[in-house]
């Protein structure tokens, strides 16, 4: 018990450090400590919003991943297995194309809001399809396969859209696909953070059924936990986490799949309340650091967050897997 509290305090400390370093270092210039005041535009409206977005995104995706990995009892599951990000991408692709065709893309605020809304609607559409399927189908493996198929369908439709897009639309769409943390303002952050808080609280009230889900459908039912009912809750929560992150930051790769695995490998506990908390901190810390590395590697170029998370994270997870015999 005591060890777990120590771990959480350590993670919290690390998060503060990562947050501060990110604010100081992750930008076109290195901020000095005395520049950290709210009158400084760069601090208030660029660095701080970006760091807060990084934290929120780092909370959403690993939690979504952990939920799906436990639900399917398979560490290969991630926020994207149910086709959610593919349908978000498709919607964003369509919006960018349509807006460019009608010359609406110039209005910055309008177009950004449209992309966020499109990504969110796309994610929700896929979530509803998955929920509909989940009510009809008991087998988890079938559900997983159907999610993958949906992803393929949305992906193909998106290629179809891209084929008919102008160069300008394509470029904008590719840029969106790199993922970006710096596109949010305080209005976005208010919506983003309040929804994340609600979802996290809801999830923590469901930790008991979540714990029992480790044993699978039959044993959950035999222990008095209504598997089908809670499965719906967990799908909704993880989909909303994915939808939010994708809407505000684009499809951020890697963290959703690997942070839960990473956390399991280093903390070696099956206690889901701890595991979820650890995922939430680790995700935020990793995204903050990756964002920072992206600014520091090349002198006057910013490397997209997705490149960093994957290039730096994957070898580390592979290393841990080599060290671990069983889990």
């Amino acid at each position: 018990m005591k060890k777990k509290s120590k771990h959480i305090i350590f993670l919290f400390g690390l998060l503060i450090v990562a947050f501060l370093l990110n604010i100081l270092l992750a930008g076109s210039s290195i901020l000095k400590l005395d520049e950290l005041n709210f009158d400084n535009y760069i601090f208030t409206h660029i660095r701080l919003t970006k760091a807060l977005t990084a934290i929120l995104c780092g909370i959403c995706l690993p939690l979504a991943g952990q939920i799906l990995q436990v639900l399917f009892r398979n560490p290969l599951a991630g926020p994207y297995v149910l086709g959610i990000s593919s349908s978000a991408s498709l919607f964003v692709g369509i919006v960018i194309m349509v807006f460019n065709t009608f010359g609406l893309m110039g209005h910055l605020f309008f177009s950004k809001a449209a992309i966020v809304i499109a990504a969110f609607c796309g994610s929700l559409l896929c979530t509803f399809i998955i929920l509909f399927v989940a009510k009809k189908i008991t087998s988890n493996v079938f559900l997983l396969l159907i999610g993958l198929m949906l992803g393929q369908i949305f992906g193909a439709l998106q290629s179809f859209t891209e084929y008919f897009s102008s160069d300008k639309s394509l470029r904008e769409f590719v840029m969106w696909g790199f993922g970006a943390l710096g596109n949010t303002n305080y209005f976005d952050l208010t919506i983003f953070s309040s929804l994340v808080v609600v979802l996290v609280i809801a999830l923590f009230f469901l930790t008991k059924p979540f714990q029992v889900f480790l044993l699978g459908e039959n044993y959950a039912n035999a222990l008095g936990i209504d598997f089908k009912k809670y499965r719906v809750y967990f799908i909704v929560i993880s989909s909303l986490f994915t939808a939010l992150a994708t809407a505000f930051c684009g499809p951020i790769a890697f963290v959703g799949l690997s942070v839960p695995i990473f956390s399991r490998l280093i903390f070696k506990t099956s206690d889901q309340r701890f595991q979820l908390t650890a995922c939430l901190f680790l995700g935020a810390i990793i995204i903050l650091f990756c964002d920072m590395i992206g600014y520091l590697i090349l002198p006057d170029r910013i490397i997209p967050i997705n490149v960093i998370t994957t290039l730096f994270g994957s070898p580390f997870v592979i290393y841990l897997l080599f060290k671990t015999k069983n889990w």
């Binding site: 436990v70 480790l214 044993y219 039912n221 069983n326 889990w327």
Partner: protein, 248 residues
């Protein structure tokens, strides 16, 4: 511990598949109480697992009644059922850093608060179950590291931690070597004799059932069914028929 009275009346078991009912076995009649070890005997696919799953409310019956202490089982809430019946299935569980102790503590789920926080009393019960099943030396092992025999014991310990009068086991001795089978049945026998549990187990190890069980449910072809005492079962016609190849 309260007394348990489980009655099965004209039960028909099977599956519901898009409005079609597929009957697996019907007209099952039996009644069980504490201190009994009941063996289910019959060929693969005859309905032994289906019966166990139906009693545990993991699937719907097609007709008839299952009464537990004179209450129809489907009228009980899931949480209440979980305090009366535990089940060990054939599926393997591992991964997610689950250790033997983690697994056994899941047995406390029907009793813990909504955050599954274990209290003093829960830890005492979990430790008792670990000792009773001879898992003291293995309690911190990951499930993935266990042999099949130890895994079965851990699952039984989880069922014990659930503190149910009735424990259902689906082929607990499958995949086990001879010594482990013997050990497992000794454990089941102890639970019945010393702890006054009622255990229903399907098994193809007829000799062990003959040695340790008190009653047998025999499933034959063409819906032939007998509920008999193990003493003197060798003279039962259906038992002879079902186990003919075994003893030849």
């Amino acid at each position: 511990m309260d007394k348990l009275q489980l009655e099965i009346k004209n039960l028909e078991i099977g599956y519901v598949n898009k409005q079609h009912e597929i009957s697996v076995f019907k007209n099952i009649n039996a009644s069980f109480t504490n201190g009994q070890l009941i063996g289910l005997v019959g060929n693969n696919g005859i309905g032994k697992s289906t019966l166990l799953r139906t009693i545990a409310s993991l699937q719907q019956k097609l007709s008839g009644d299952i009464l537990i202490n004179n209450n129809s089982i489907e009228k009980l809430r899931k949480e209440e059922t979980a305090k009366l019946i535990s089940i060990v299935l054939t599926e393997k569980i591992s991964g997610f850093n689950l250790t033997v102790t983690d697994l056994i503590s899941m047995g406390r789920v029907p009793y813990t608060n909504s955050f599954h926080e274990l209290q003093e009393n829960d830890f005492i019960i979990i430790n008792e179950c670990i000792q009773l099943c001879g898992l003291t030396d293995h309690k911190n092992k990951l499930l993935a590291e266990l042999s099949d025999g130890l895994f079965q014991k851990a699952m039984i310990a989880k069922g014990l931690a659930q503190q149910t009068n009735l424990i259902l086991l689906d082929e607990p001795t499958a995949y086990l070597d001879f010594n482990s089978k013997q050990e497992l049945f000794t454990l089941l026998n102890n639970l019945v004799v010393k702890n006054n549990k009622c255990i229903i187990a399907s098994s193809h190890d007829i000799e062990l059932l003959l040695k340790y069980s008190t009653h047998l449910l025999v499933f034959g072809d063409n819906n032939e069914f007998e509920f008999i005492e193990t003493n003197g079962c060798r003279s039962n016609k259906l038992f002879q028929k079902v186990t003919k190849n075994y003893f030849d």
